[in-house]
Subunit: 483 residues, 2 copies
């Protein structure tokens, strides 16, 4: 709905530019400019981004709006949201998951130092005496805090958590970047057969995306240890591995030349080292690629890489068993933003298949790095968007437990998890539906009468229907609808 | 950005060192050192990695806990919570309700001046530039704001909203008084046949409490216009009607003598007037009481009272039609705290019937006034607790619309609503269950093997079961469980 308006704005903007370029008559241009401004103001009203500030006018009138970067969800939008959630939860429960809930705000200390420079986006609560608190930034850190607090009780746990998180980012409402938005996480915590949970998480991504019917997709998979091994054997100094890794992470948006430039000019890597990396990170494939790397004498000289390759080999076996290999692409260019990953990492993207993803969608999708939505940069050239992401993080819980006990080697809970980009899925489905076709209430029966009167009889009938467990609708518009 | 600041720190550090090495004048060095410290503290603030924060203990250990007044809900608690919510939502949907969602924080201006002296309990967000926001205190004010914003689109609406609200109150966790807790509201907005929505709301309370099977209950009902009429004919000056009304509201906890004392000594009412009020407010009954009041020549001399009595008469007729009269007690002592009620008001209490309410529960239940949880005071002597409350508020939406438009007589949406005390219900059910009996996951099948091995076979079987839509459990404890 909003996006349709947005397309109108873009189109109108184009028209104005074309007229100006063609040096059209002044009044003609003015008419079109006025139309453009009107469209923009309608759009602002729709998205709640009215720029008029807190109180409009000088008379101290109250502005009826939601805070910047937030919105209300009406009954029809909620109907779609509930469909998305119940579909996803259905899959999670099929895999034996339980859910937990954590407070919407955490002690500030719990969140501090977990999000790097994005920490500035954290919403603080005002210090009204007492503890310093902040709204949660994601669901992973609260989950790790929960596990560290409940060490032995929840050593092994498959949990999902669907809840809102908060980021004081510059909102781009039309593009779906909000300050309040849902995250939808599923994680397997604890020690299981090696690589079995990792494969199951990928199977769950496939089940979720298939159930939601949002079009064809590919899951790119890589392994942090292989990536680090590659950097190592190519000659990247240890201190530069993470910065070089973030440069590689941009390969889905930038051509290799630009990424290389960043490595060499900004991060001070030797050009020859960068070139060696380039040979590796452009590789993608399936088991064939794995076999090729296993025969790479240089790479297999690196212990970490060997561990990673061995994990990937087991993963491919289990993906076959779980019948999801066809959705997976082993892609050495996938690096992901977050520091805490220690094993497999992956990211699912829509591959622009048969699902009716509109052009507007293709323009407005975001490239997300880290867990879904943790970082989001617009890129008008990207035709498909990341719709799920995740990976293995074996050290995060231990970090909390260690920081709390003041010594290393406290409770350690290895974890692997996924995050579904529900806001993006929600907006794709919303765009695809016609709002007038969405039935928000679930009424099975409407009780009305022809002509006036019969109120008591209608009420009696309703009572009977309620007692029979039926969903009875209202049609107050007619005045005769009940009740 | 952080890197840039960091570079500044390094540069400034170099400057200080250089000055020291050059044995520069002491005050000059001090100025530069101060600048360095400022830069460092800005950097720490930016990255949120300030070491100076509140860390408990001398060694900078992290405290693993949730903020005061909040808690995590583990998988078993969540299973009970989901049962309560889905039961309640089932009833709401039977009555044709839809749901909407609003942001967890609102512009501070929206909340200001709505909660009287309890406004001090509102959680403010820190002013980090931009709008002044605060966490929502209840769900009624955001709903009224939504209706006022969407005037014509949602003139008639049955909506429910189950979500967390926030109050910076002194928590009493063992008694269920939290700073973050759920409210569960259902409201009928718009113009319908007179008193039909009011009766339906009471029918819904009966359906919800019956479905939840938490024991026998009584719904006390009164009408603001009758109460105000009584105060008026007894001789209470108009300005004292609300204060006297709050005194009456305490009658379920205090004996009449104490309430009278408050009226006379604190609120300056004449003793004879108080005595007249006392004659009325001790009355309770059913239609018999209504008939008695209808014959009261003094009371029926008051226009407001007559309107209220006429509403009550219609209500009793409809309660019969809806077959819920047996649960209702017409109780003139019920006043309720909130100012915004304009018609019927009610409160459901557990009547200590056959349901297994434990002694602990009887002691810890709270007397709540206003909408459920809006005010809560402990009273160890009260054996039963308010479990639902609500009433008609015909002016709140218009107040918002009027404040926004700057003139009176904007959009007017009459509303009647209920609030279910889900936190209390949740804690009653939790106390009644044995935690070890609660099965948090919904697994229908467990795949295990006798003896070691067979991992691949177990995984294949799981895949088949998942594809058949079955919920497959995990038993990782055994090491042989899958996955």
């Amino acid at each position: 709905m909003v996006e349709r308006k947005d397309a109108l704005v873009v189109a109108q903007g184009g028209k104005v530019r074309a007229l100006k370029e063609a040096k059209a008559e002044k009044t003609l241009v003015e008419v079109e400019v006025k139309a453009l401004l009107e469209l923009k103001s309608k759009l602002a009203a729709l998205t709640g981004e009215g720029g008029e500030g807190k109180r409009s006018g000088s008379k101290g009138k109250l502005t009826l709006k939601t805070p910047k970067g937030t919105k209300d969800y009406n009954d029809k939008e909620m109907a779609i949201r509930e469909h998305v959630f119940s579909t996803i939860i259905g899959v999670f429960k099929r895999h034996g998951a339980v859910t937990i809930d954590t407070p919407v705000f955490e002690l500030k200390d719990i969140l501090s130092g977990k999000y790097g420079e994005d920490s500035k986006l954290i919403y603080d609560l005002e210090d009204q005496g007492g503890e310093k608190c902040a709204l949660r930034y994601d669901l992973t850190v609260p989950f790790a805090r929960f596990l560290a607090m409940n060490g032995t009780t929840y050593q092994n746990m498959k949990r999902y958590h669907i809840a809102k998180v908060y980021r004081r980012d510059q909102p781009a409402m039309t593009k779906g970047r909000m300050r309040e938005f849902y995250q939808c996480d599923f994680d397997i915590a604890g020690t299981y057969e090696p690589m079995v949970p990792d494969a199951e998480v990928l199977r769950i991504v496939v089940e979720v995306l298939t159930s939601l019917d949002i079009g064809s997709f590919v899951i790119k998979v890589n392994h942090r240890k292989i990536l680090d091994g590659i950097f190592s054997v190519c000659g990247v100094p240890d201190t530069k591995i993470r910065p070089i890794s973030s440069a590689v992470d941009k390969l889905d948006k930038l051509p290799w030349e630009d990424v290389k430039k960043e490595m060499v000019e900004e991060k001070g890597l030797e050009a020859s080292v960068a070139d060696k990396i380039g040979e590796y990170v452009k590789l993608k494939g399936g088991r064939d690629l794995l076999e090729k790397l296993q025969k790479d004498a240089i790479l297999t000289g690196n212990t970490k890489a060997v561990e990673g390759l061995s994990d990937m080999s087991l993963l491919f076996t289990y993906l076959d068993t779980f019948k999801v290999t066809q959705h997976v692409s082993f892609d050495l260019s996938l690096a992901r933003g977050l520091d805490y990953y220690t094993g497999i990492i992956y990211e699912a993207i829509l591959s622009g298949g048969p699902a009716p993803v509109s052009v507007t969608e293709a323009i407005s999708v975001k490239k997300s790095k880290g867990k879904e939505g943790e970082e989001a940069e617009e890129d008008a050239n990207v035709g498909v968007g990341s719709i799920s992401g995740g990976g293995r993080y074996d050290e995060l819980v231990g970090m909390f437990a260690g920081a709390a006990s003041g010594k290393k080697g406290g409770v350690k809970v290895p974890c692997v998890g996924l995050s579904i980009g529900v806001e993006r899925i929600f907006s794709i489905l919303l765009r695809r539906s016609r709002l007038e076709d969405i039935k928000a209430n679930q009424s099975e029966v409407y009780v009305i009468s022809v002509g006036d009167g019969l109120l008591k009889e209608r009420m009696e009938l309703c009572t009977e229907l309620w007692e029979a467990g039926l969903k009875v609708g209202a049609s107050p518009e007619e005045g005769r609808g009940m009740p």
